[in-house]
């Protein structure tokens, strides 16, 4: 385990933890962005530069900014005032914690016992821009195309939610 991995992993975990525990929504979003930078660092450490920089570009650059703007437009300070102060040992937080601990301990155990499928010393496949592009235009061309339908449906949904209907306008 390299030092770089440890640092990026700590940033990722710390950022997402803060995103869950901060009370101010703006702080949550900024912490989440930090966590996503940490995940991008892990990708870079694994040699997947393209995926790592895409992660920064899309999630930190676009999604986090979008979330901040959405919050500013919907007056997030009202939301934060509405949230009741959290008690550390409420029933929901304890049951959530126990479930999460169960899932992640099994997961950790499975990862600990992980052996690669083929025990050869084969190098991990490169995940550069070219390889990703080839995969998208070849094996995964249909999923890529069908995501268009997904986005169309989501866009129509946004129109339905955001635009007042004629009933509401009158």
């Amino acid at each position: 385990m390299s030092l770089f991995f440890l640092i990026t992993a700590a940033i990722a975990i710390g950022g997402t933890l803060a995103a869950m525990t901060r009370r101010n929504p703006i702080h949550c979003i900024l912490s989440l962005a930090l966590g996503l930078v940490g995940v991008a660092g892990v990708y870079l450490a694994l040699g997947a530069q393209f995926v790592g920089f895409t992660q920064i570009l899309v999630y930190v650059g676009a999604v986090a900014i979008l979330a901040t703007f959405a919050l500013m437009m919907t007056q997030g300070h009202i939301v934060s005032a509405l949230i009741e102060p959290r008690r550390a040992f409420s029933r929901s937080s304890v049951s959530g914690f126990v479930t999460a601990a169960g899932v992640f301990s099994v997961l950790g155990w499975a990862a600990q016992s992980y052996r690669p499928l083929t025990p050869s010393t084969q190098q991990a496949p490169a995940a550069g821009a070219k390889e990703v592009g080839v995969a998208l235009m070849h094996t995964y061309v249909l999923p890529l195309e069908v995501i268009g339908v997904l986005l169309t449906a989501a866009l129509i949904g946004a129109v339905v939610i955001a635009l007042p209907s004629e009933e509401e306008r009158s």
Binding site: V106, L107, W109, A110, A111, S113, Y114, R115, P116, L117, E131, V134, A135, H138, T139, Y140, V141, L142, P143, V146, I147, V149, L150, T152, A153, A154, I156, G157, V159, V160, I161, L163, S165, E166, E167, E168, S170
Partner: protein
């Protein structure tokens, strides 16, 4: 026609129709009825059903089709579900053509979303690549999230939509996590290579965890207990025709994914997942039926009933491969017919505003609306599983499959639950056919049943009756439907 296009034909037809609906929507002046768009959508779903039928002829002649680098597999199994989804969408569209009252509330978007949602569901059933399944699942989910909240401005509608969206996204994340883990264990996300990889994997723990995660994700989508808590609230707030659609078509698609994934992808882990399926089945049957006993709202009652029916359907999974597929396919078809029918009756009775809701409101309904009451009664009897209705043979095939495979106690739990279920279905039925209390009947506005809705009601009633009297036709089709795993080796992208 190239194989690739042929394999996508029903989805292509629906997508093009959906796009046409959206393009034509702004052409129609504001304030005018959006009904022509509805007719266009109906034509599209009819054509897509015909396209699936055409695929069946091709598959009968040439055998299973695979397309797009083994992403899509067209076999009798996927064609069966394509036909079922196209039929449910067709009937739903017919039933909701006159559902929207005069100030038109995004009716054009409604038709488009139903069509796009169906595209996603169809992709789920024909795809043998879990990434593609995920995208299909997302298309179908996002469409239904929006459709659930279509009665805007009502608190229950917003509650319905937001609850469905938040919990649904959470469940999808579980599914995706499962796919990622199965990739870690087997090196593939494609059904055939997963089965091959499991045979040689050295980390079965991870694979078992992956199967459990996928089961959680899909268990939510089919509203199996203990992942069912969203169902009553969502069904209560969503428009009745939409509930008819979303309690059948996306569930059929999710069951199709489960059948393919469990029996073709992870047969090596049969001993592990069968236990999980049994727990889900027993919990769904018991919690669904017991929960329904104390409901007053008819839509909530039917929501709990749909949880119980998901449990019966999961019992089918304990049979042998062929019995499981045949039983589950037959049950989804009969359940779709009777449940869509029941919700169509509800939507025709109470309209967009849904003024009549509770069992008390239905008291003495038979006096005022004898035809509608008879239809609703018939669908309720089929949901109980009375002979000469589709529901009877559905339960018969499911439980006999489980018994043949030695799951006697599951059969007993299932039959006991069917007995419990009689209580609440008959309570509603008794209310309909009892003497009206002072104001309950006068309160019900009579809405004229339009021709398209009548056609839809007749179709669901005939299907329910037909499956109860002549089940053989469908049984022959579904017994052939057992999917085989072809294309064990995915084509790797060429590196140049």
């Amino acid at each position: 026609m190239s194989t690739n296009l042929l394999a996508l034909l029903p989805e292509l037809v629906l997508t093009i129709t959906g796009v046409l609906v959206m393009v034509l929507e702004p052409v129609i002046p504001a304030g005018k009825s959006r009904k022509p768009l509805g007719w266009l959508a109906i034509l599209g779903s009819l054509l897509s059903g015909l396209a699936a039928f055409y695929q069946l002829q091709i598959v009968n002649a040439q055998g299973t089709l695979t397309a797009f680098y083994s992403t899509i597999q067209i076999d009798p199994f996927s064609i069966f579900f394509h036909l079922l989804i196209a039929a449910v969408v067709l009937v739903t569209l017919l039933g909701s053509l006159d559902y929207f009252e005069s100030p038109i509330t995004h009716a054009g978007e409604y038709f488009a979303l139903v069509l796009f949602g169906a595209v996603g569901m169809m992709f789920m059933t024909s795809s043998v690549e879990l990434l593609m399944v995920f995208i299909g699942l997302e298309i179908s989910s996002i469409s239904t999230y929006i459709l659930a909240g279509f009665r805007k401005g009502r608190a229950t509608a917003s509650e319905s939509s937001i609850k469905y969206f938040l919990l649904g996204s959470f469940a999808t994340a579980f599914f995706l996590y499962g796919v990622a883990l199965i990739y870690g264990a087997t090196g593939s996300t494609s059904i055939g290579p997963i089965a091959a990889g499991l045979a040689i994997t050295r980390t079965p723990t991870m694979a078992i965890l992956a199967v459990a995660m996928v089961l959680i994700g899909l268990g939510f989508k089919v509203s199996a207990a203990p992942f069912h808590v969203w169902t009553p609230d969502v069904y209560q707030g969503a428009p009745a025709p939409v509930v008819g659609l979303m309690s059948t078509a996306p569930k059929a698609a999710a069951f199709a994914v489960l059948l393919r994934f469990l029996f073709n992808g992870t047969p090596m882990l049969h001993g592990h997942w069968i236990l999980l399926i049994e727990i889900l089945a027993v919990a769904s049957m018991c919690l669904g039926n017991l929960g329904a006993l104390k409901q007053h709202d008819v839509k909530r009652l039917l929501a709990y009933s749909s949880i119980a029916h998901a449990g019966y359907l999961l019992v089918a999974f304990t049979g042998t491969h062929q019995n499981a597929v045949a039983g589950a396919c037959f049950y989804t078809a009969t359940y779709a017919a009777m449940n869509v029918g029941a919700f169509l009756v509800l939507s025709q009775l109470s309209g967009f505003s849904e003024r009549i809701r509770s069992i008390e409101d239905f008291t003495g309904l038979a006096l005022k609306r004898p035809g509608m009451s008879a239809l609703l009664g018939f669908f309720l009897l089929s949901l109980i599983g009375i002979p000469f209705t589709g529901g009877f043979f559905g339960k018969f095939y499911v439980f006999s499959g489980a018994l043949q495979n030695g799951h006697v106690w599951l059969g007993i739990v299932g039959l006991a639950n069917s007995g419990v279920a009689c209580f609440y279905y008959l309570r509603l039925l008794a209310a309909i056919y009892s003497r009206p209390t002072s104001d309950s009947v006068a309160y019900i506005p009579v809405r004229k049943v339009t021709a398209p809705a009548a056609v839809a009601l007749a179709a669901t009633a005939l299907a329910t009756l037909g499956l109860g009297i002549l089940p053989n036709k469908l049984v022959h089709l579904v017994e052939r439907a057992t999917p085989t795993t072809t294309a064990a080796v995915a084509v790797q992208p060429t590196q140049q």
